[in-house]
């Protein structure tokens, strides 16, 4: 906004006030310099760096020297079979994640909540947090070991009469392994939020319900579930909002060309084509396409969260 204050009044315009604020609290401004610098350099410059998605970017020529090509790379991507495949896989893996990864911690928390043996509950909880602290590389390494043709999963499969096979190379099993290992990793960790919410439920409610003759099932339906409902709804909406976003890391660790058909997602595709094959402009275009969709979905999710629960992320 243009400041046109010509008078000497101190309280009128924004800039004089800012100047006064600056003089009074110089050290605050000083402290904020490295923070602002960090965000500008490492967050905002890359945002403007995405102009290379509209260019035929050559590292030698730089952003200023490279030729402008408009939406060429977006059209290239969207008209290629890779687009359908990666978008579909991204959504499908996220939907599975939503179905299994979202519900399992809730069920686990409800089961733990019903346990009467406090010591036992504590032990199960502690053990269930463990996978969260195991690195993704190790989780994928163990998964690879267990699913190899002489691994323990195949021992089990053979016991039930199936042929031994390298499970991770089997297109039909890949998604189950991907989602299943994710559920395993975050089951316990994801339940913390719900357990903490449940422990804040009013014990008087349960007492009153018992006196009124409500059994455990009725207490679960009428007290326990309503207690976690707001937080569970918020979590669900935010998960729906991130349905197109999924990091490349796990996919890069797990997939092989044999299973690209069901494994390759947008972010792993960007990594492969953009960084490994150094098609910077193409990779940036696909990445930007994904970021824009993510932003829209998140804004929509946040809006509906506010409508439905009165709570939102911002």
């Amino acid at each position: 906004m243009v400041n046109i204050s010509t008078t000497r009044s101190h309280k009128s315009g924004f800039l004089p006030r800012l100047k006064k604020n600056f003089i009074q609290h110089r050290s605050l401004y000083l402290i904020s310099i490295p923070i602002v610098l960090y965000f500008v350099v490492f967050k905002y410059i890359p945002m403007f760096g995405v102009v290379i998605a509209f260019q035929d970017y050559r590292p030698g020529l730089g952003i200023l020297g490279s030729k402008f090509v408009g939406f060429k790379y977006f059209i290239d991507f969207l008209t290629s079979p890779n687009a359908i495949r990666t978008i579909r896989n991204t959504i499908v893996l996220n939907v599975y994640n939503l179905i299994f990864g979202y519900t399992s911690p809730i069920i686990f928390a409800l089961l733990l909540n019903e346990l009467r043996l406090q010591r036992y509950k504590k032990v199960v909880q502690t053990i269930s947090y463990m996978p969260h602290f195991i690195s993704l590389v190790v989780v994928c390494g163990i998964l690879k070991d267990f699913t190899s043709s002489y691994g323990i999963f195949n021992d089990l499969a053979e016991f039930f009469g199936y042929e031994r096979q390298n499970m991770l190379s089997n297109v039909d099993l890949y998604r189950a392994l991907y989602v299943g290992s994710g559920v395993w990793k975050d089951l316990g960790w994801g339940s913390i939020l719900y357990l903490a919410t449940l422990s804040s439920a009013d014990p008087n409610l349960y007492e009153a319900a018992t006196i009124d003759g409500a059994g455990r099932w009725k207490q679960l339906i009428h007290i326990t579930i309503p207690t976690i409902m707001p937080i569970a709804t918020l979590q669900l909406i935010m998960k729906v909002g991130s349905i197109m976003s999924i990091g490349a890391e796990k996919t890069i660790l797990l997939y092989t060309p044999l299973v690209y058909e069901k494994a390759d997602i947008i972010s792993s595709f960007v990594y492969r084509r953009g960084l490994q094959e150094m098609n910077f402009s193409f990779g940036a275009a696909v990445g930007l396409f994904n970021s824009v969709i993510n932003l829209c979905l998140l804004v929509a999710a946040n809006w509906s969260a506010r409508q439905m629960t009165g709570e939102s992320m911002w």
Binding site: V123, I152, L156, T210, L275, G287
Partner: protein, 300 residues
């Protein structure tokens, strides 16, 4: 809690105890398998089918091979460096950011907040990040692992919320005594919010210990700077490379007894030395988890 001891209640309780036992077992078993496997004799391990209930035989050859591998030591050192320096630098920046954002007297507080929060929802993406790091000349330097991820915006906002819950009078009275901003931050705010800070330090440290992706893209030509997780990835995931790593280490141990079967055992040993340190620590900081997760679910 008053409860009635009906038959169906008891059946459910028994079922629940068993089900949770099984879930706990599934959570625990993979690491137990790896631990037992790491001490097993490779031949017996190969012939064994089904779950490992104890080490098959007992050898420490696998660990000898791992410890004789200079790559492991170098990468272990690198990881410790990234964890210590990275966590310290991140925590310092997060403290500064949270401090200025918590000051009512700071006029740019709100616009800055918007500018920072926006970066949580939109980013340039992998390729522009990579090009920036390479333009800045940080490719293949340790700085590339630490500086581009200096602040996790979410942690900064959590800490800001914690700072704002500290009574303002504490800081004001210190200021009247002539304390500057940094004194207020480190002498008053940090001690009063140390539980929150502990959780954030834990997040940063565990995240750094387990991180491999930035190193994979920013340190392509400097194996000597690779963190443990990246070496692990070579050993566990990309098998062609794993041969190299393990064969390199075999040179340091007598080859005759090894028979090439020991690769699996070596893999298990590597997982153990990379994972056991963290698994030994987490049960002791457990009480902070609830706090950490609840902080994350709060807004403002």
């Amino acid at each position: 809690m008053i409860e009635r001891r009906t038959v169906s209640n008891r059946i459910f309780d028994a079922f629940n105890v068993i089900l949770l036992f099984l879930i706990g077992l599934i959570c625990l078993y993979p690491m137990v398998h790896v631990l037992f496997g790491s001490f097993s004799h490779p031949k017996e391990l190969l012939n064994h089918t089904g779950p490992l209930l104890r080490p098959m035989g007992f050898i420490t050859r696998g660990y000898e091979i791992v410890f004789a591998n200079p790559n492991i030591w170098v990468s272990y050192g690198n990881t410790i460096f990234y964890v210590v320096v990275g966590t310290a630098a991140r925590m310092f920046m997060t403290l500064l950011g949270a401090y200025v954002l918590a000051q009512d007297s700071f006029m740019l507080r709100k616009p800055m907040m918007i500018i920072f929060v926006f970066t949580m929802y939109f980013s340039g993406g992998l390729i522009p990040d990579f090009l920036l790091v390479s333009k800045l000349g940080m490719l293949n330097t340790r700085a590339a692992i630490i500086i581009p991820n200096l602040i996790a915006t979410w942690n900064m906002i959590i800490l800001r919320t914690a700072f704002r819950q500290v009574p303002a009078s504490l800081g004001e009275s210190a200021r009247l005594d002539g304390a500057g901003d940094l004194t207020v931050l480190f002498r008053i705010l940090v001690p009063t919010t140390k539980a929150t800070i502990a959780v954030i330090i834990m997040y940063y440290a565990v995240g750094e210990w387990n991180s491999w992706f930035p190193a994979a893209i920013y340190l392509p030509g400097r194996r000597d700077l690779h963190p443990l997780q990246l070496i692990l990835r070579e050993i566990l995931i990309s098998h062609s490379a794993s041969g190299n790593v393990i064969n390199q280490s075999l040179e340091f141990v007598d080859q005759d007894a090894v028979e090439g079967l020991i690769e699996d055992v070596v893999r298990y040993c590597t997982i153990c030395i990379a994972t056991v340190p963290i698994l030994c620590v987490y049960p002791f900081v457990q009480k902070h988890f609830v706090r950490g997760v609840m902080m994350g679910s709060l807004k403002e």
